[in-house]
Subunit: 499 residues, 2 copies
């Protein structure tokens, strides 16, 4: 007869294995799979989701988990894992296997339609599948919420313990404090690079070089290509990310690599003892996003970073780099100007894109907004928040994959990640004796070491707020992000002045 | 209340989804995964194997399946699927979940050790893991056999209904009739191509071109690279294969493509209505192998084939092709000469490599041979059968992945595939008015059409012997293969004569 601890270990391992297999099925779908296999892959993902649900709900673990979660004598890591398992069970037991399958299949269908219809802005094709998916997500929210806020029931999956009512004032404050920065922007698009060729193969090499430079372990990971950059971890020793390559411009590739390698290095930094446990994870998406944003915005936003990689870019792109230097790339990333597409937005207006989505997805889930009316609502709010309106749904309501993938309550974690990233950067700045100086010295091992020690190794041991307060000494707030963005906009203005 | 038919459909679909996910996990492991993830992937594969076993054993389906399998009024395809499910259940119910996991983990461990140790011929590292795996396979065979032949219990997984006692005389006859052909061979290695560079990127392009030429649907498949060529199907619309690229020689790539595309086109040709059923499969490995061997040996062995692709090779390899033509490639594939490595063996001696493995793996599973004594037994029998003895286990007992991957009872299906391929080729020769002429005309669509109609579309609807007799009109026998090999050796002699 094995002990409760051993049985829990085996059980959590089984759950982790299914999750890891699902991560691989997703990775492959988005980087390699022929589109003709969308239906078959959707069925496979739905089946594994159902098996995960069934495994999570195995009745014999109910009491064991509850006892361990409440046991003051259990090791903190064991108790925390039991609490996480209990919470997952509590959510799962309110959702039927049939709904798990329907949700997964509906998301696969909407995702496949979106993938096909997005570029031509074909909203009419997406409306039906997205409407069915939203209806199912509302069913799920109703089942989980127990009479409480519907949106919170979905938000909790991505940001455990968060409440929309607590996030709303943070977002409102942020939007108010950002508006002078938006107003002080040039309202001109960033200076464009001359139209030149940045060949795909050399850009892929650059992706590997930049990732290795900042500390991504290529012997325990892979870099792929995808229209939509993402990172993916199927288990210990295998963390991957996909970058986006535009042969007319290398900047989105470099920033994608910083962002996704930020996610991926986080996963590579979990305590290996946590492998195949619930602790081998970030405590929430905002914690994950904070790592990505730190590398993308606080490292990639530094002129010193572009100076470090400039020589390598000159080797890889001898023709395209003629007459260009680090300052040109830095200037192209530092301009503040309202624009239509979130993933191309500057750091200041980016958060207004999130405010828009946070509002609209709450309205969809509560039922205040019908999917049919979504494009109009999108365009109207874009006009109010950013003063720009898309010509096509491709640059409007259809630009993001999230909703078509069934991800509601996900977007706010991006801005929470920006807030935490700024607090981490400010802390690192003190701890390292100047973050810019560390970057200028190529001290990426020190920067990564700071994150490893304060954040990565802990995995999901602490809830996000506790993890971040242990790391930075301060509670969540907007001051550090505002200060960072003020510096960025000043730097942008000064770069423009000397250009 | 859903009908029995609907419940069976859902259940078989779930089983197919898990199998498809496992295929993808294997594909990724062998083409892309960092080796640091071997343990994690092994756990994931073991977990999915256990979940498949558990799903297969769900008690509520026992009576439904048995009733359907015996129902004379059921549609033939429904009855056949029920029979296949009943047979799989019957095997599975004799094996515990714990043994399923142990077997899967032991195979993952031995495979990882083999991958690392093979090239340096490090038998000492492999001996332990392989010994544990063989012991577990013997446990499995004992559990399944019910007192009957232990080896047959494993053979049945790959070649349902086959018995070693029935295969042995076929193999003995074949070995006897091959010996004059071996004796008439040059006993000289094939004429080598001049040492030139055949760049990887151009070879990968050639792989795509050759695959497309013979009818592999690249919009519903992928081609990857691996040290060990293989094909893999994760479901409808997604069939893949990996080729091996040697930058010193393009021949192994071309023959690998013909072989693996042969497997892959078979899977692309199953009746789509069979997707997510037990019928979306070959009835056995020998049927599968027959397709691969047909394209590799009966198409790739034709001078006309090399003439068809010669112009494209000249475009892709302008330097390396200087002074070479189709005859040189054909000659390099047609020589008969005993050699050490199965996958590099000529068509005649190849079958003697299989005889060796068929004998040794029977001895391992029955317990007549201990894994410790395997290298000596290998070398002694190589000397008897082929007159050559390897210097290193790398070219001897460690050359194949199969045993380290837990595959026992698999090797004989290669020679059975050769026998069936020759019978199919002889039938196609009549049906198409000359196979060589069809190849010379580039009539690959007609050749594929013949296979689609006679073999592919049926999936697993008929047992292998019935499928083949319907397709060729004759029972399994060695005559056609011997006749083919006699023509090949004559062609080889004549090519040498004019060279």
């Amino acid at each position: 007869m094995s002990t409760h601890s051993e049985r829990l270990r085996t059980w959590a391992g089984t759950l982790a294995d299914i999750t890891g297999a699902l991560a691989l099925l997703d990775w492959d779908r988005d980087t390699m799979m022929p589109s003709s296999a969308a239906d078959a892959r959707g069925q496979q993902i739905a089946t594994l989701a159902v098996l995960h649900h069934r495994e999570l709900m195995r009745p014999e673990f109910g009491e064991i988990v509850a006892a361990r979660a409440a046991d003051p004598d259990a090791a903190p890591s064991a108790r925390r894992e039991a609490q996480l398992l209990a919470h997952r069970r509590e959510r799962a037991e309110r959702v039927s296997e049939a709904l798990v399958r329907e949700l997964s299949e509906a998301a696969s269908e909407a995702l496949a339609v979106w993938t096909d219809a997005r570029e031509r802005g074909d909203w009419d094709s997406l409306r039906g599948p997205l409407g069915r998916l939203v209806a199912l997500k509302r069913h799920e929210a109703q089942a989980i919420s127990g009479g409480h806020d519907l949106y919170d029931a979905l938000l909790d999956e991505h940001e455990p313990g968060a409440h929309a009512a607590e996030l709303a004032p943070i977002f409102t404050e942020l939007a108010e404090r950002l508006s002078p920065l938006v107003a002080s922007g040039t309202a001109q698009p960033p200076p464009t690079l001359p139209q030149r060729d940045w060949p795909r193969a050399a850009q892929l090499q650059l992706a590997h070089d930049v990732a290795a430079l900042i500390g991504f372990d290529l012997t325990a990971g892979r870099i792929g290509e995808s229209a939509h950059p993402f990172s993916s971890s199927s288990g210990l020793g295998d963390v991957r990310f996909a970058t986006r390559i535009d042969e007319r411009n290398p900047i989105s590739n470099v920033l994608s690599v910083l962002h996704e390698a930020g996610h991926a290095m986080y996963e590579q930094g979990f305590d290996p003892d946590y492998a195949r446990t619930m602790l081998w994870d970030a405590p929430s998406l905002s914690a994950h996003e904070a790592q990505a944003r730190f590398w993308e915005n606080h490292v990639g936003g530094a002129l010193e970073f572009w100076r470090i990689i400039e020589p390598r870019m000159r080797e890889l792109f001898p023709a395209a780099m003629r007459g260009l230097d680090a300052g040109d790339f830095h200037a192209a990333t530092a301009t503040v100007c309202p624009s239509l597409v979130r993933v191309e937005a500057d750091e200041v207006t980016y958060n207004l894109h999130i405010v828009l989505r946070f509002e609209l997805e709450q309205a969809l889930i509560t039922g205040a907004l019908d999917v049919r009316d979504l494009p109009e609502a999108w365009n109207a709010r874009m006009d109010e928040l950013l003063g720009v309106v898309p010509d096509s749904p491709a640059d409007g309501v259809m630009q993001d994959v999230h909703w078509a993938d069934g991800l509601f309550g996900y977007f706010p974690t991006y801005t929470l990640g920006n807030l935490y990233a700024a607090q981490l950067a400010a802390t690192a700045d003190v701890a390292l004796g100047g973050l810019s100086a560390a970057i200028a010295d190529g001290g990426f091992a020190d920067i990564l070491g700071f994150m490893r020690t304060r954040i990565h190794r802990h995995g999901a041991l602490y809830p996000t707020a506790e993890l971040m307060e242990r790391a930075t000494g301060v509670p969540l707030g907007a001051d550090m992000l505002i200060a960072h963005l003020e510096r960025r906009t000043r730097a942008s203005a000064s770069t423009r002045g000397t250009d």
